[in-house]
Assembly symmetry: D2
């Protein structure tokens, strides 16, 4: 079975390459009656877009989405929604380097091994360009979630050895995130991150980091044990994004050194409902949402494409060197934030609808 579909009850299927005519997503499962227009898609696309600031790639893309179906008189009809984003920057250039040499850290070799050959223009399907339509679909999922009071927000918490200080993940605002071009709500850390990214770029290198993504308003009960636990599907969602090599919830890897007595969050009755007095568990217990904010972090590797010269081999196994010419992100994190939000929103929308079907029988 191929792998270009995400979700079950709320599902998206995507197609498109870096330098082909365009990228397409079909969203199937959006309930009817939701207000939707192209304007709903633009803000997140702008947050993902190349060229948005001085610390991201300067590739030029309009990223103008076109809704081809599923919306009538401003509302979703319940039928499948197709969105097309044409690639405008398909300028002809010389790809002979990529065509024959395997770029370190990229999927050139593995695509060749899997498919026998590949679209070598800008990475083809392995390029992060395919996430454009994920972000557009994620904006639809966010609208659906907003209708039941759920909000998803991500931000950068680490670039290199610069770490943000976040008091309460559930109390960060979009404005705080968008206040600077690195998308870190800790203004002081943000300045240092930007400085680091600029230094790294000037050194013809790249740098990794960590993003945190938070969902608030998720009611208790979403997630389908034993395999489609919410933490399992959210984990898959994040790992499906390019460059993600680690995911953790709540206390995360720090649980390794913790005792049960300190790691367990205690149930309390507060504000008319049962909740926990702390959130080391990250919003899910037994893989089902607990009603507390869902908090996860993704480790994002440094951009594989760097201007610096690196050793590699050709398709025929001959030793050579390669260096990335042209545009690249010195740090993926600022543009990663809307992608991660999109995947979280798509996953939550799916589980929201799945829970509707599983709701206790009244009979």
């Amino acid at each position: 079975m191929p792998g270009n579909t995400w979700g079950h009850s709320f599902r998206i299927t995507t197609a498109g390459e870096s330098h082909g005519p365009g990228n397409v997503v079909i969203i199937d499962g959006v309930p009817s009656g939701l207000e939707l227009s192209v304007d709903d898609l633009l803000p997140d696309l702008a947050r993902r877009r190349p060229g948005q600031s001085s610390i991201v790639t300067q590739r030029k893309e309009a990223d103008q989405p076109r809704i081809l179906s599923g919306v009538f008189e401003g509302r979703t009809t319940g039928t499948s929604i197709a969105i097309l984003i044409e690639n405008t920057d398909q300028r002809s250039r010389d790809y002979s380097d990529i065509q024959k040499k395997y770029r370190p850290g990229h999927a050139d070799y593995t695509f060749d091994a899997k498919y026998g050959f590949r679209d070598y223009r800008g990475g083809g399907r392995s390029s992060a360009r395919e996430t454009t339509v994920r972000v557009a679909a994620g904006a639809v999922a966010k609208k659906l979630l907003a209708s039941v009071g759920v909000e998803v927000l991500g931000y950068v918490v680490q670039v290199g050895d610069i770490r943000a200080s976040i008091n309460d993940p559930a109390n960060i605002s979009l404005d705080q995130v968008e206040a600077n071009m690195v998308r870190c709500p800790d203004a002081k850390a943000a300045d240092q991150m930007i400085e680091l990214i600029e230094r790294v770029r000037s050194e013809r290198d790249s740098i990794g980091g960590v993003a945190e993504v938070v969902a608030t308003g998720v009611p208790p009960g979403w997630g389908e044990p034993v395999f489609d636990k919410l933490k399992a599907d959210l984990g898959k969602a994040m790992f499906s994004l390019p460059a993600v090599v680690g995911v953790e919830y709540g206390a995360g890897f720090a649980v390794a050194t913790a005792r049960g007595s300190e790691n367990n969050d205690h149930f309390v009755y507060r504000g008319g409902r049962i909740t926990t007095d702390s959130n080391r568990h990250g919003g899910m217990l037994g893989g089902i949402s607990s009603g507390t904010p869902i908090v996860l972090r993704c480790a994002v590797k440094p951009t594989s494409s760097i201007p610096m010269e690196q050793p590699t081999v050709t398709q025929d196994g001959e030793a050579t060197t390669i260096s990335t010419k042209g545009r690249h992100d010195p740090c993926l994190l600022p543009r990663f934030v809307p992608m991660a939000e999109a995947m979280m929103a798509l996953t939550l929308a799916d589980h929201m609808l799945r829970q509707r079907a599983m709701a206790a029988s009244e009979g």
Copy 2:
């Protein structure tokens, strides 16, 4: 859609609770002709079994599997395979505590929120007892993988602040892992881990840790972009297991502080094939296996059930306290290893068959 099925081409569906009559798995997609008997299932079940050593729960379970279908004259027929493991330890006891109180760190509250009520005996379906049949099915997947030269092995690399020293994840043997009851191939660290676990237990508490799971022999080309990347499905596999709150590949969260120039593994031609000179990428590029060993680590939280008294609330929101009576694991890691191996094997078997279907057309 409910969530008790794993995989697509090689898929398992499970049922069963902690204190019901038994646990069942149906394995669908096993190619015909594979030699299979109950004996193939026993070793991993023994590694998962309660009561196997002094540092795990002392619950008594025979864990004797029965193959009900899909095998004829010692070979798989290509039809679905059902395996039943009856629960022998269903002794009557007093569950009134669990029934009305929410155990910290457990799924009691979230199950109630999701389903309206729950089987409160020993955690019901949220108990790790359901992993028994995952391990049995994983043993079948391991046999299929072995037929193409793939091996899966896990071990413990951290308990509390004790860290093992592992030179080469691809060169650990099952004998090294099974040489001690904590399943850590670093003998010296193993002794310290066992000592720590015993101390923690004597303090009526529990402790977390980290396990590493490795697959060797996976050919380049497994994994289905863009959503069913191998790293995405393996990540989901691990997060579907109880108590896992973090997963990372290769260099993992350490990439956050790395430069691209140091993080990129370089392609080289060695031993007649293209590979990389290091394995910070953990065996997958673009979510597709690269031919190098797949290496991941799981952060496992300390057991939520502890004999120590903890504050909590009842179903009605009244403050109370609870302490676990009877049997529990002071540290989940030793028994977690075969569970994680099973999920990795099931995922790899699925992608092995998926790649068969996707193989390049000869026409």
Copy 3:
């Protein structure tokens, strides 16, 4: 992808062969809180059971189901339900005939071609014995449907050239169907059918027929265009049963000679709701339930196993003859009825839950 799973939101996965230890079904997606016990499964199993009357096979099977999970204190928990029916009639006999010769009309040859070898005892997985657990699962689906007012009932309308006269498919009762052993509510036709079946049997032959299956109480709105239309899924459900070679809805093949002006049912307002003044459309328009009774018919071929000697070949292609020894149904129809009801109920339960998830957004 293998094929032993039915449904999406309400799904069953089955395993088991004719002469293996037993047949198993895992039902996943049953909402919590539904009252359920083994007693709910027995009536339909009795209607399907061999040996129930003089005109069916005399194989002896207790068909005693055991619920292994998913039910607690008499109610479903929302987790997966496993049901096991052990095979009691596994008496040792000589299968050398079947092992080497291909029985006409059976799946012996195609199973060998597909899997390389097969379990030749009684047809293995290709035996209708696998429908036992479908019927058990169907009984669970019927209970869920009954909780929203939906009932499913089937009956025989044709055996050979004997045709029943049915005035109104929506007004047949279970009592009428069960009033005779051929399950035809037209008592006079039933007598003739029984007489025909007995004559055919005495001639060492078998005979085909047609069953009609009806669902009443289905609200308008079930079915998921464009591929998972209700008529598409019900059609697949029926064709998944052994021996079914034709399916038609409402007017069925008779539409070929009809004009649009006579075939269109007209919408009317009656009893406080919109409906149609006739039901040539069989209860679905655009593949979505219209609120009128769903009516379909299945053509069931004559039993392939006949005592009469027939020409065939061996696995090696040598000409030979074969005749069925022992027990067989001279006509499949009486026992087909509960199987068809089960598949219709399972399909409707799935679409009932799917529609819940698709219900119009309130936001």
Copy 4:
């Protein structure tokens, strides 16, 4: 779960309405290396196109497909293929009739019941216009099948009471089918059918019919028991098409009056392989292809839209009348043929890839 996806290993997902911007299909699972261009899609689109002859609807559509992804340098890359067909005939007209009145035989009422409201322009998603992209995707499936020697061909065998005489379904050529505008290979019957259709049209009415669809070259072994039998999936494929109310294989409903001794096809050894001496079974046994031609027939109802005035009700239940203005097909059969071929090809391509994954283990 929504329903706009077909297939598992070879899968398509579609979107689009009658009068929206366009229809889109994403094809996922096409193996890499298959030669493919827009020219491959045009012949079948032309066979489906409105306005192709005097006996079909005169709506004007260019039906010009655009391949947006998944093809590079004339070959498929193994990644998902998106095809867009824009609607050119979106002329503004008065839909107030359809908007408020329920057209007999159409899905207007059921869409309203399901989704709460609908795109009333030309039927929206319930229009057969959505089959445009099915036919485009079917052309891709046909190319893949041709690479292993499988061919799919359909034709009309009945219109009203005019029945074609077909000697051997496996020996009809595309030229014979395309020799006349009704797509009936029996030239004499074709003339009568055309005459009947023209008479019916002049009477402001419509007429039903039957199409036969045949696949040759399918090797034994395709189909996945027990639920995804090839006959089950092909049956669903046909019933997913608009206006299909009956499907039968081989002898079809005629089996009802047959004895087993006459209905069983006998195995023989011929031409170096095992086959049957007749093909009453229609090419599948036990739901698995037997190596003989697959033969099925679909009953297609008379077009619901007729110029003649018919009684109906408004959304509010008020009695009224309606008559179709403008373009309609007096008989659906000629344009149904390429749609049915497409669905058969898509289903066979899926099972071809599924069988690859299920092939017997060599280990």
